[in-house]
Amino acid sequence: MDTPVIHHGAMFDTNELVLNMGPQHPSTHGVLRVVLRLDGEKVVDADVVIGYLHRGIEKLSENRNWTQIILLTDRMDYVAAATNNVGYCETVEKLMSLEVPRRARYVRTILCELQRIASHCLWVGTHAMDIGAMTVFLYAFRERELILDLFEEMCGARLTYNSMRIGGLPLDIPPGWDKKVLEFCTIMATKIDEYEELLTHNRIWLERTKGIGVIDGPAAVALGLSGPPLRGSGVPRDVRKDEPYAAYDEMEFDVPIGTAGDTYDRYLVRLEEFRQSLRVIRQATEGIPEGPIVGKVPRLIKPPAGETYHAIESPKGELGYFIVSDGKSTNPYRFRVRPPSFCNLQGLRTLIKGHLVADVVALIGSLDVVLGEVDR
């Protein structure tokens, strides 16, 4: 049960306790397992064990044709499925040098940003829940429900959308959908303030998140963190700005960055991202151009031989696809995903050393990992 490690030299010998957190644990957000070595309640070291949700999506994709893979990508980051679709389709389009119509790129932008809000809603809810504020959880899920309704209207599904096609979209937006999206933006803007009222200036929230899991910019970059955890450390890195895809080059938005690199700053960054996402959605919905929704896509999708890497900014961070085509078969020769959650989770061990058990759940929450994406 225990592996006692005895510190000699101290006046009192103390045993280290090995605490196994997960894979069945309410706040490891799925099937994450963290083996903690504790000195009292202080974490001396941690081993992060993953793979409990490994379904071999990469291997599976190498045996499916190019279109079938889209629905496999839904199953990775299942709280932001449309973002995965977009990333994959754009990578294949890059391989085939396909031109995507402007209207499709605008709709992709709207869907990506709606997904970002949905994902952040889930994050703010569970993160607050982990720290004990249960009301925010239900508030955030209430708003996420509105987004799911929008998606249901758009593509008929509420979680796994399969909402993209290589070269464009499967369906045009339903009539009146853009009005509903704008309406949602109005509602959401007030709801963000509601979350902030409950958390941002709450003394207990501040005590629980300020100075917890501090990581500075260079260290975060070296650890491969991306997305809000990286921006929380003050590194202005956002794929949407740096390597624009979809219609982000035509959008106006700011990239919020933190200063302290602690859990609180990551929280603030994500809350500001809510607002920026709404800004992008408004611009894209109001400026949605007329035109076709699918480009000139050959009947049989068979990209030329070669390999490419393409990254987009998913709600969790840099979501990259590395795809190799052999130019002969109708399936990719190598399909590799660079899952942002996987790389962010790698930083957990560094972040939690020296903190208390209660901070472990706060930090898992602040990294915002989805185990479906970590394990694939």
């Binding site: 390597e243 070669g306 390999e307 890497y309 990259g320 130019g327 790389c343």
Partner: protein, 201 residues
């Protein structure tokens, strides 16, 4: 995987990506020239396709190249996006392509490094250069069986500790180790034990 249904290779298995050299009208970024100067023989081939630069690096020099690319002012690749591999079983010069996708948060440019590696050939770990490579290299080891030397924590990451074989290799069957495990676990256990016995002998 003697009992598993043998993977039937396609008529002509592909032997690697074309990696076309840059066309005449594209100028290579400056850091490639600097790299050539700093690490002689560090780059054996430069390729440009779809706007991405790929440098093929000999396995022996990967650490030096990585170090240079991270520290050189005109390169500054401080962010290791991805480490992965591709399996090209019939290729003569080596079975695996180990691919490093690098990004610079300062210059906002990307580059891919590629190391061609034989099946039993070890490769120096770049975790000392980019700590981010830690888990990514573990995954490459887990999925392809590439042995990284100098890795601080070389364990399997996604598959169970006692898993046999490396699933992402092209000769690993999609069905996994066979149906025996699901249909008759006791038989499977016996088989595994006998195999372990054979390993020991």
């Amino acid at each position: 995987m003697a009992d598993a249904p043998a993977h039937v290779p396609k008529a002509a298995a592909p032997t690697g990506p074309p990696d076309p050299p840059p066309p005449a009208d594209v100028t290579a970024p400056a850091f490639i020239a600097t790299l050539h100067a700093a690490v002689p023989g560090g780059v054996t081939h430069v390729s440009y396709w779809l706007g991405d630069w790929t440098l093929v690096v000999p396995a022996a020099l990967i650490l030096q190249v990585a170090q240079h690319l991270r520290d050189a002012a005109d390169a500054a690749f401080d962010f290791c996006s991805d480490v992965t591999a591709t399996d090209w079983p019939p290729r003569a010069e080596g079975r695996f392509d180990v691919v490093y996708c690098l990004y610079s948060t300062r210059h906002r440019h990307r580059v891919r490094l590629k190391v061609i590696l034989g099946e039993q050939q070890p490769l120096a770990s770049v975790t000392g250069v980019w700590p981010a490579a830690g888990w990514l290299e573990r995954e490459v080891y887990d999925m392809f069986g590439v042995g990284f030397t100098g890795h601080p924590d070389r364990r399997r990451i996604l598959m169970p500790e006692d898993w046999q074989g490396h699933p992402q290799r092209k000769d690993y069957p999609l069905e996994g180790p066979g149906e025996l495990l699901l249909e008759n676990p006791i038989e499977w256990l016996k088989l595994r034990q006998s195999r372990e016995q054979a390993d020991i002998e």
